[in-house]
């Protein structure tokens, strides 16, 4: 299978990104489309490992060697079949996944992994272009009604699986549009909203009912939800952001990342916004607190909005460039990652602890920070943090974005009213079938797992759907993830 010497014959090539100066002028996706032959050559690098660690590394269990093989042969339709068997939305994961599969690709032991993610996107886009991806309504309906609360990737995956199993699915979304983080959180330059819409239209065509603006527990009583449906699947995400309770937090110009990103996505979608609510980086000195993906999204957005200068600070130390011995393959490599936004600009600082915000007129003007040092962890302990004496510094800023992650789902309202039990970290507690402590109520995605990746959300949604299906039918023919 595949080309045994492919990995020796060709090096890793990823699609080109548009030039920085060009792409920061717009919000279009930043990759130049690939030619199929380029993807085929990259597919030939797959070694068809008998123990495909990528297949383990992928939360969805994508059978990566098999689609690589088909791509290498140019059998795109077969490749798509392989891919869709495990992945509901390869057009999303092909764009926004950090690709744990590539981190665990065997080639990355001593070289560059197969460009799995880009191949995945290529397969998906070819599938849409050729019309191979089309609505697949079930042959027969079971007569069972299932509610899915939350329309992020987990909810959409659960809805698609359940609908295909023949259940009648209604997706409730409290926002005014479907898609959750896909629609509102992730910037367009990473995930074009047309791509999201295309999928939602397909789902609707398959027979999934979408209800937006329905805030369960507020505008729609949970009693009704539980009465109206044979089963409920909670995929409401991990929406409670981590805040920074330091002096001056109440000042204006300090925002949670999600507020900021969401607003930009709405504007791009043509929404008219009250100028007073507008958060923009244009002409500003921006500080982003948090060094993760959301922080990078803020960075890319701020640069596009025309920020003067952007600082991004991270509390933790700068990761090493290469794997450390205690972090061997195929573990997720704790190494320095450069997102495309980082090549567009910005200044990054590590080991930075914010002590206070300062400003005048209720508006932030400065950030007071200190450098910290992390001690080597003693026996299994956590590393200890120390402030470095006399390392205080001040940064002038007029926009601060807090991108420090999310704690757990929102507890009050729906969850409290349904009465599901929570786990130690405040997420919804589920059993092996993804059922919560309330019979017939299931949960998946970040709501159950805690903040994580889109690919995990899809996997969770699939698992939850399988749990719901088993619950309703006594057994399930839906595949496991």
């Amino acid at each position: 299978m595949g080309k045994p010497t492919g990995f020796m014959d060709a090096g890793r090539q990823t699609p080109e990104r548009r030039p920085v100066l060009e792409r920061t002028e717009d919000y279009q996706e930043l990759y130049v489309p690939w030619l199929d032959v380029q993807a085929q050559e990259q597919g030939s690098r797959c070694m068809d490992c008998a123990v495909p660690f990528c297949h383990m590394g992928c939360p969805l269990g994508n059978v990566i060697p098999e689609f690589n093989h088909q791509v290498y042969l140019g059998n795109w339709e077969q490749a798509l079949e392989v891919l869709l068997a495990t992945n509901n939305f390869p057009e999303f994961t092909g764009r926004v996944c950090p690709a744990p599969c590539e981190a665990s690709c065997v080639l990355s032991i001593n070289g560059d992994p197969v460009t799995i993610e880009y191949i995945e996107k290529q397969i998906a886009e070819r599938g849409f272009a050729e019309g191979w991806i089309k609505p697949e309504p079930p042959e027969a309906r079971t007569g069972k009604r299932v509610a899915v609360v939350g329309s992020g990737p987990a909810g959409l995956a659960a809805a698609q699986q359940l609908n295909r199993a023949g259940h009648s699915v209604t997706v409730f979304e409290r926002a005014d549009r479907i898609g959750g983080i896909l629609a509102l959180g992730i910037p367009d330059f990473k995930l074009d909203k047309q791509v999201v819409r295309r999928r939602i239209d397909l789902l609707a065509a398959e027979g999934v009912t979408f209800k937006t603006g329905v805030d369960v527990g507020v505008s729609y009583p949970v009693e009704m939800l539980l009465a109206d449906f044979d089963a409920v699947c909670l995929t409401c995400g991990s929406t409670q952001a981590r805040d920074l309770p330091v002096p001056g937090r109440e000042l204006g110009g300090i925002h949670l990342a999600m507020e900021y990103l969401t607003q930009q996505n709405r504007i791009l979608d043509g929404e008219e916004l009250d100028p007073s609510e507008r958060i923009t980086a244009e002409g500003k000195r921006v500080v982003i607190l948090g060094g993760g993906d959301t922080g990078a999204d803020c960075l890319g957005t701020a640069l596009r909005q025309g920020a003067n200068v952007v600082f991004q600070y991270e509390l933790l130390p700068e990761p090493p460039v290469e794997r450390q011995p205690h972090n061997p393959w195929p573990q997720w490599p704790a190494v320095l990652r450069l997102s495309p936004a980082h090549e567009e600009g910005g200044v990054r600082g590590y080991n930075v602890l914010t002590k206070a915000f300062m400003g005048s007129n209720g508006t932030v003007e400065r950030l007071h920070a200190v450098r910290v040092q992390w001690d080597q962890p003693s026996n299994n302990g956590r590393p200890g943090m120390r402030e470095v004496a006399d390392s205080d510094f001040i940064v002038e800023t007029d926009l601060v974005l807090l991108a420090m992650g999310f704690l757990h789902p929102q507890h009050d309202g729906m969850l409290a009213q349904i009465g599901v039990k929570l786990d130690g970290r405040g997420n919804v507690k589920t059993d092996g079938n993804k059922m919560t402590s309330v019979p017939g109520v299931f949960a998946g995605g970040d709501a159950a797992r805690g903040q994580s990746l889109v690919v995990w959300a899809i996997a969770e949604g699939r698992e939850a759907a399988r749990g719901v299906d088993s619950y309703l039918m006594g057994k399930s023919n839906l595949p496991r993830s």
Binding site: M1, P4, T5, F7, M8, M47, D48, C49, A50, V51, P52, F53, H55, M56, G61, V63, P65, E66, E81, V82, L84, A85, S104, V106, L107, I109, N110, G111, E136, P138, E139, A140, Q161, R164, A165, G166, P325, H326, P328, W329, P330, Q331, N477, L478, P479, R480
Partner: protein, 1528 residues
Amino acid sequence: MNPFKELARQGLYSPEQEHDSCGVGVVANIRGEKSHQIIGESLQVLVNLGHRGAAGCDPETGDGAGILIQMPHRFFRAEGSRLGIDLPADGDYGVGMVFLPPQPESQEKCRGLVERVIEQEGLEFLGWREVPVDPSKLGRDSRRVCPSIWQVFIGPGSRIDGRDQLERKLYVVRKVIEHGAEDWGLTDEEADYFYICSLSCNTIVYKGLLLAHQILGFYRDLADETLVSAFGLVHSRFSTNTLGHWKLAHPYRYLAHNGEINTLRGNLNWMHAREAQFQSTLFGEDMRKIPPIMTAGASDTASIDNALELLLMTGRDLDHAMLMLIPEAWEQHTTMIQEKKDFFEYHSCLMEPWDGPAMIVSSNGRSICALLDRNGFRPFRYTITKDDKLVMSSETGVLNIPPSQIKEKGRLQPGRMFLVNLEEGRIIGDEELKHKLASRQPYGQWLNDYKVALDDLPEPAGLAAASSPGAGANSDGRSDLRQQKQAFGYTMEELRMLTAPMARHGAEAVGSMGNDTPLAVLSDQNQLLFNYFKQFFAQVTNPPLDAIREELVTSLQSFIGCDQNLFEETAKHCHQLQLMSPIISDRDLQKIRKVNVGEVRSITLSSLFDALHGPNSLKSALDRLRAEASRAIRDGYSIIILSDRGVDRQHAPIPSLLATAAVHHHLIREGTRTKVGLVVESGEPREVHHFSLLIGYGAGAVNPYLALATVREMAAAEELNGTKPDYAEKNYIKANQKGVLKVMSKMGISTVRSYRGAQIFEAIGLNQELVDEYFSWTPSRIQGIGLDAVEEEVLQRHRSAFESQHPSSQRELMTGGFYQWRRHGEFHQWNPEVIAKLQDATRSNNWETYKEFASLVNDQSQKMATLRGLLELKKTQAAVPLEEVEPASEIVKRFATGAVSLGSISRESHETIAIAMNRMGARSNTGEGGEDFHRYTPDANGDSRSSAMKQVASGRFGVTANYLVNATDLQIKMAQGSKPGEGGQLSGNKIDEYIGWVRRTTPGVELISPPPHHDIYSIEDLAQLIHDLKNINPEARIHVKLVAEVGVGTVAAGVAKGHADVVLISGHDGGTGNSPESSIKHAGLPWELGIAETQQVLVANGLRGRIVVQADGQLKTGRDTVIAALLGAEEFGYATAPLIVNGCIMLRKCHLGTCMVGIATQDPELRKRFTGQPEYLVSYFNFVAEEMREIMAELGFRTVNEMVGRADLLDAREAVYHWKAKGVDLARLLYRQQPRSPDEAAHCCEEQDHGLDRALDHQLIELAEPALNNKERVKIELPICNANRTVGAMLSGKVAKRYGEEGLPPETIRINFTGSAGQSFCAFLAKGIDVHLEGDTNDYLGKGMTGGRIVVCAPSDASFVPEENILIGNVVLYGATGGQVYIRGLAGERFCVRNSGVHAIVEGVGDHACEYMTGGVVVVLGRTGRNFAAGMSGGIAFVNDEDGDFEIRFNPGLADLEPVTDPEDVATLKRMIEEHLKLTGSGPARRILANWDEALPRFKKVMPRDYRRVLDEARAKGKTELQATHHG
């Protein structure tokens, strides 16, 4: 009294698995003149063959010896009158030689039975004579079971007319006595003793549990001068087990046998099936009294003796009967004359061959018939003297005959026979015999008139309509095919990995690394019934075959239809359907379906069952099918097609194997099986293992309609690299045919006719009820599922096809995951988590991480991947403090790494392992690729890269004297876990110049290791190789590597008796660099079964104390290792785990050489990526030992030795809740065999006696002192005889040890011998030794010769013409790497097999010369046998083709024939012939040189194509000579 009975009941031992082999001899006066001298000389021959027999734990108890002679009338007359018995004239009375129980009252009972039957049958009881014996001559164990031995005299009574009728009646009497033993009320023990050695008016057999030299003293009769015979047929036995039986000694009533019948189970079944049809005018009503023909539970030899007897008694001549049982290879014989072919073809309708290595001598008292089977694996030499004496035996030189008395010296060739007709007083040769037999009847005419050949049948019409697999044809053809595939459980993986390669290339797919998935019965995945069966394979007791290189002996053709009465010959006997292959296309099946020629008519029976009917519908369908089959036979159909076409929502298929075996066994029981042929039309079979099983359980032909449709579909969808549908189908059928042939040849079986119904499989995970009903006599030792679970698995598949699925949530077919790990596929022990943890633990030397790894592996309560996963450790003894347990540094010395050759892995990884193991005082293993001698010198830092254990495998790559002496352990690889019964292969892409140099082979050319060791065709041959290796390196322990299968314990006992120091039992799951996928998956058993059986049998034999038992096969952790010890091992091997420690990530691409971590590759770029370190391995092994220590402390053991064999501390897990595994019963596995007495051990505690003190080499070494010490020239003159074995090896060892690779200068030690040299003469001869022999030699001359020179000439006073007589034996210069050899006479079979450097000249050779040769030069001055140069990939041969017909005996597979014109070639050839003339005075050499210009054009040069390519390349690179020949 006999521990084996108990063991057979409770343990893993099965008596059917006993094997024996031996030496056979005959001395005869051809003119038929009787004398006592002949008997004396026969016994002398027996003694001189003594080394081919064996003794058990009691050195004075042999495995058996005996003699068959003509009825000594004069002697009995005298004895009779002494006893008051009045005997009639010679030939008018019968004498029975009878073993009776020792207790007088039991004797009375048995004698009563004998007398009663004699009277009953109308003969006259004349009296008893107690045979005078001297028990003091017996060994202790033999005496303990010694019967009381009597002769009974029987008169003809009134109704007998003539000698032949009397003989037949005596046969009836004996059968009635045998059958009557139970009714007569004999106890088991009495019945065990009671045995009739012979009962005849023509011959008598004296035999017993004796050593060869004891027989004369024991049986006083044999010393009596009045005891005379015209011949004596003698036999000395080597049995695998110790507690032998008196009755198992040969000769049997008509024959003595050297070899083994592999197809025995099938032969017995077929014979049983025929019995109901027997009718003989010679017997009339008596016929009813004879069946069962075959004595239940008898050995293979006893059984073929039974069959021969039947054919003789019912009127066939001795030679005719023998040829029916063991026909020559006629099917692919291009030059055999038609009448002979007709004879064999006709008889192939009557009876299947008894297949397996066989050298059989039989006699009815009036003639002696000697016959060698088609493969000719057993040696048989004969000498005829001028005074008409014939001496023939397994060896030459067994009787001292002055050379001037010798008229002729010869050997029996493969497939040939000869007959000594004592009445005519002459020897009748093969040609005349077969002509006589072939012209008995118009066989050719009969075939012409009555045979129905499939190929000649008319093409069926309307095939297209019939080729749609499903019955309920959907409108959408494709989805219909999909449902069919789902219903039969096809997976994406098998289509991709097995089916597609077969359809593309016409060959089975190969893979690498081992099998790490669970047994079918432990698997969570849906399993086909096929997967519950494991293939048997030959190891030690008989050789596997090479169906590719020795294709000419194989055959796939057969007849199916209605058999006629075996005792007659009519035209109708061949009125059957002839098939050229057992795997047939849809078109062929249609022809069979439509056939209607005379009585050749077929009927199709449905093998479907009602899927919706609820439980037990499978059972009722089987009952229905059986009843329908019976009815079809009554209705006169001669072919039954079992068809599962028509699977739909309602109908599920009966597993094809179950349907086939159920009908087959039903018809056997009913006595109608031979009236009908079975054809299987099924969607299920699709890989080699499936076809093999169907044929093995009785199918005459298989039509895999769904697999064929799938292949065509794949081709049409352009998934086969452009192979068109028709070709794809042909390729696919061809690949499976070749595969079936390979499976057969693994067991040493040549023809599908004898494989059919031979059931050469072990069931694993099926319960006894299921096996007894449908797979009768198949071993199934751990029990498991029954028919209900079989049904459930079919229904699971059925549901997956016909229950509603969700589009695009499911792919077309299941993913699979049996070959490659998949998340929801089959469980793999080496899964990503386990691999990653092990690498992390050993690289960081982190004990905690190791423990995590170990618990991942050990905690298999959820995933019961292995049998050991089902076991729990019982803490019934008091724990001991950890610090009292022996230290890890001691335990690791018991560890070895697996035999992974340099070549299959890179130099870096091979040397890393060696360094690590040497640092710990443990052992690494070279594998079968030789070793670079530079590694014998330690590195500057003190590390040694020399592997402590050197392997000697069938390829003998790089096995030189220097290699052998630089080892502490020498391992003979009999089999390999991943592909037992097969040879190795190393792809050409992995043989670079260095690897080629180390192996003495041609770089870039794929290397083949022969399936058998060509010097081990049986157990006594193995003992010989052990002896050879011990001679060259007396300090080394000699290991024998076996693979677990049923009966491995018995083989291990034989190995212990062959004086091996260590026996390694490998599991079936071991790694490989290149194996057919079906072998990786379907052959061999887990080591748990093998080790347990080995321990039980060795202890029961009292042999355990003198041999170390080693276990390997996916051992990973301390717990694994402890379990191996508790089951009986004291040393342990690891192979895959160390590779993983060094970076292997189970890519399973070893066979492609693209290993991206630099292990299984020779690509210089990839090798740079190797990151392994000795330290990692040291960490790993220390961790394993530490984990063992923790467990040992808990179990209460301070040393490993205490643990060995303590199976009582293991328990089967109680919490087995798996729906299939809950039926598994491990009681037999856990049976603890206690030593027979306190002085016997359960672990190794003493050394083997290798008998080296008797070696002639001690004298040689003493006489060669000046040469060994100071390189002074010495000259030695000594006589030699056949009992002097392996002469020259020990001396060579001294030379190599002292002078290394370089050896001594030419001719430093000159030795002149006179006489008949024993086996392995000049084995491993070192450089500087020059040996001249005047006389002749036995087999294996110059085995492994490294340098020096051997010259063999006939004695100067010999009266025969040397170039017409056989001078040296078979398998000469096997694996030799250098030196020169001059033979003034003829050689036997397989001259220069695997030669890689010797320059040899000989005056004629037998079949298969230069097989697998990779280097050196061979000159043949005379005629060659067939199949010259098969598998020859290097070196050159020059053949003097005087008759101009060499081409037809030449195998053009790898080499070309060309004239000798190159000046360099001409010079080499001439120089060698001149040297030959000078050294031997050869007549042919003189004649050739005298007419050189005329002679030269007659020579043909045999040039391997690849060899020429490499030579050309080397020349282009400016090298004058190939490196490989440099080092030769």
